[in-house]
């Protein structure tokens, strides 16, 4: 037992680190989920007294920070760790020890953040989690408004995990560029490897401004700096620019891996290759580049001049073009195929419809004057949860059902999977479809209680009910993960009749993955193997 534990703690194996990342993210998913439920219970009625305003503000700060940095990021990096080397025919990541170091930095970051519940106020005794919001706008983070240490826990935990993210991003880039097996030139990589390459490049560009801003904030708080200290002539808007030049690319950092999962799963369950591979690659790079110039669309209400507002409107709308191309290409992949409705595919279809809606509500908000009404309202909350839950989380669930057999050697239960899918789908739509409407009726976000204005109470009640249905669905999912580990059907090497290299080795793969390094001649090496009469390599 201790030996196993010791092996897992000291491991530099990409597969074990991948699983550690994923388990770590799932643990925090439960924490952040509970925080979301506290928020929803408080907002069930007008003038509710379930929690105090102080607790409520901590809950939404911790929910947002945790979900972004300690749930979605680690789980996505976990899948990258596990899959990228296997799919490009490598025996490990380029820098295995950097890989372990990055994971433990991320782990430390999360623990630091949650230690604030115990140690936040330091001298005052009782703990105190940060309550400045996950965006931590200046000057609320200044000493004058946040005198305790809770804001420092927020800053330092993200600083530490940020270094972990940068380390992993460098590692993925190096792995994809240098470790591919013979025959796999860039044009033959699985799309997943391509998309993680773009995502990692964006991590390098996005995390650095956040790190810089956080260092400046620490200088303000402890060394008498005045970058964001408005009482001493500092600028509140500079923080906004720094934060969102990180924050918006971050959205694409999270969603591009979701695209990656879809681009692997949809073809297998439609029994066709991905439609327009080169265009998919180009669209991803396009998204990566354009999304670096859209950040101020989070700031349309701060009083930028009309030229700046127009510029960020058109860049934001322009991101819709490559994103639209991707959706069309997935439809093109399904078109003329033979769709098998296994659970991973159900989640992918949910993703397609929901991500479409999320994109369209995004287009609505890119019309600046309309955003002057919608910004900072519950409409925005509904919109980005549509992206993150309806899009990214659905894609992640698809990935879990698809690759769990490879990671454990056992299939996840299809029956529980169907329960999970349909319950979560119903809960999701109850919550986030309905949540748009209070925003249209003038309900701002980040309020711990509200006046009983027409419609607000009923709508909030429905949203809360939906949240609990989602929570039940997550319990079914976790139960499925646990039970199937011991009782699931044996998976074999290739349960889905798939085409990429990870399915050519045993489940779970042995240490160092490949007994002999494979040689590939097309994008779908296992298709070539299974169809020697009509291999892909003939058409390249």
């Amino acid at each position: 037992m201790t030996e196993t534990l010791h092996e897992w703690v000291t491991t530099v194996d990409h597969k074990r680190l991948g699983i550690l990342y994923i388990l770590y993210g799932l643990g925090f998913l439960v924490m952040a989920g509970i925080e979301a439920l506290v928020i929803r219970v408080q907002l069930m009625h007008a003038h509710n007294h379930f929690v105090s305003p102080q607790v409520f503000n901590r809950m939404f700060t911790m929910h947002g920070t945790t979900m972004i940095f300690f749930v979605v990021m680690p789980v996505l990096f976990g899948f990258a760790n596990y899959l990228v080397p296997l799919m490009i025919g490598a025996r490990d990541m380029a820098f295995p020890r950097l890989n372990a170091f990055s994971f433990w930095l991320t782990a430390l970051g999360g623990l630091l953040l949650y230690f604030s519940f115990l140690g936040g106020s330091g001298l005052y005794g009782a703990g105190n989690a940060p309550d400045v919001g996950w965006w931590a706008y200046a000057p609320l983070t200044a000493k004058a408004f946040s005198p305790g240490h809770s804001a420092d826990y927020w800053t330092i935990s993200l600083l530490v995990s940020g270094f972990g993210s940068v380390g992993t991003a460098i590692n993925i880039i190096a792995t994809v560029l240098c470790m591919r097996c013979p025959g796999m030139h860039l044009g033959r990589m699985p799309l997943l490897a391509w998309l993680y390459l773009v995502m990692s490049g964006m991590v390098l560009m996005a995390i650095t401004p956040l790190t810089a801003a956080q260092l400046m904030l620490l200088v303000d708080r402890y060394l008498g700096g005045h970058f964001f200290d408005t009482q001493a002539g500092g600028s509140a808007t500079i923080w906004m620019h720094f934060f969102w030049i990180f924050g918006h690319p971050e959205v694409y950092v999270l969603v591009i891996p979701a695209f990656a999962f879809l681009s692997e799963i949809i073809p297998v369950f439609s029994r066709k290759p991905i439609f327009g591979y080169p265009v998919m690659v180009a669209a991803t790079i396009g998204i990566g580049l354009v999304s670096m110039s859209v950040w101020a669309h989070h700031m349309f209400t701060i009083g930028m001049n009309s030229y700046a507002n127009s510029f960020f409107a058109i860049t934001t709308m322009a991101v819709g073009i490559p994103t639209g191309i991707k959706i069309f290409n997935w439809i093109g992949t399904i078109w003329g195929g033979r769709i098998h409705f296994k659970v991973p595919m159900l989640f992918c279809i949910g993703f397609l419809l929901q991500f479409l809606i999320a994109g369209l509500t995004g287009i609505i908000q890119s019309c600046v004057p309309v955003d002057w009404q919608l910004s900072l309202s519950y409409f925005v909350v509904a919109h980005f949860h549509y992206v993150i839950v309806g899009g990214i989380l659905f894609a992640l669930f698809a990935a879990f059902y698809y690759w769990y057999p490879k990671m454990t050697g056992r299939m996840l239960s299809e029956r529980l999977g169907n329960w999970h899918f349909w319950l979560f789908l119903i809960g999701f739509h109850l919550t986030f479809d309905v949540m748009h409407i209070p925003g249209l009726l003038g309900m701002p976000r980040r309020i711990y209680t509200y006046e009983p204005r027409p419609g607000w109470e009923t709508l909030n009640m429905i949203v809360t009910i939906g949240a609990f249905i989602q929570a039940i669905a997550i319990l079914v999912f976790v139960w499925n993960l646990i039970v199937s580990y011991w009782k699931g059907a044996k998976a074999g090497n290739d349960p889905w009749d798939a085409w990429t290299l990870e399915w050519s080795v045993s489940s779970p793969p042995r240490i160092y993955n490949f007994a002999s390094i494979p040689v590939v001649a097309s994008r779908r090496p296992l298709w070539d193997l299974k169809h020697p009469e009509d291999p892909d390599s003939r058409y390249e």
Partner: protein, 358 residues
Amino acid sequence: MRLDNFLHLKRHAQNLLTRSAIRAFGLLSYVAAGFAQPSASYLSSTNIFAPASTPARSIFGLSLFVLAVTLVIFVVVAGLIVYAVVKFRNRAGDAEREPAQVYGSTQIELAWTVIPVLIVIVLFLATARGIHAIQDAPKPAAALDVTVIGHQFWWEFRYPKLGIVTANELHIPVSDPSRPTPTFMKLMSADTDHSFWVPELGGKTDLIPNRVNEMWMDPSRPGIYLGQCAQYCGTQHAKMLLRVSVDRPAEFEAWVRAQQRAAVQDEKARAGKHVFETTSCINCHTVSGTAANGRFGPDLTHLMSRTSLASGAAENTPSNLRLWIQNPDAIKPGSLMPSMKLNDADLDTLVTYLETLR
């Protein structure tokens, strides 16, 4: 096609869409909000689809246009997805044969790149026009100037040309479209970020320390319009409510004259005034003609002309006022108003005095 031809066509299409969409969404928002038709004592519903001022109306029109465009896109693309999923499902009769392997099609991919580009151009032109119309509107000579200062967690309104200072309830004149008297506001903050949002009168604009933002509105019907702070500003962000009273010209004149008068000096409330002037009330509050000249809290010179306390958190009644002075956390936990810890007798005389500040 020449650009102005194109713009003309686009405008035509937009008008057409707007008119039919207004009907659909007017109905929808009516049902959703269940608000009453505007009357003399109109109380707003905070619904963004019930605009009562030019900026709000122009946003409303643009939002219907973009809603219509996105709705069409949704129907087409979602239709394609659903059709493909149903049509190409694996049927029981199918053998283990794989379908035809198709790798892509340059023509089709080109088509679904060009169409979104065209849609983006149209949407951008409509947006740029909307931005310009609202943000770069010239200020007429008859405009009323108001300076709005955000505080944790209340609003200060100063009328520089009229010499009025008040809090939480903004009074402005109704603007007759034939002789517009819009209100132009300068927005500033004394501490953290805030955001001014009264949905029926316009979009929101942030109040940011060390920065002056601007915003205008020209409400065309009298009534009370509700809103609240929209940017997270600290513990009591939720109860930083906002109320705009749009007055008929005569009412507004009367309100201005009343606000310009000095504070009432009522002999019967002398004891209470003494309590007021000898406690720390005066560090934060102002009452003209007394020792109180603090600016940290709301100006109380005409406290009784306001309908609410604590930035809309409670109605302005004697019992609420008493509670607010003695235990502010009971009304607004985390507000910066301290508990004054007065004995009952002092508290009563103090409330009696404040009640005279009409």
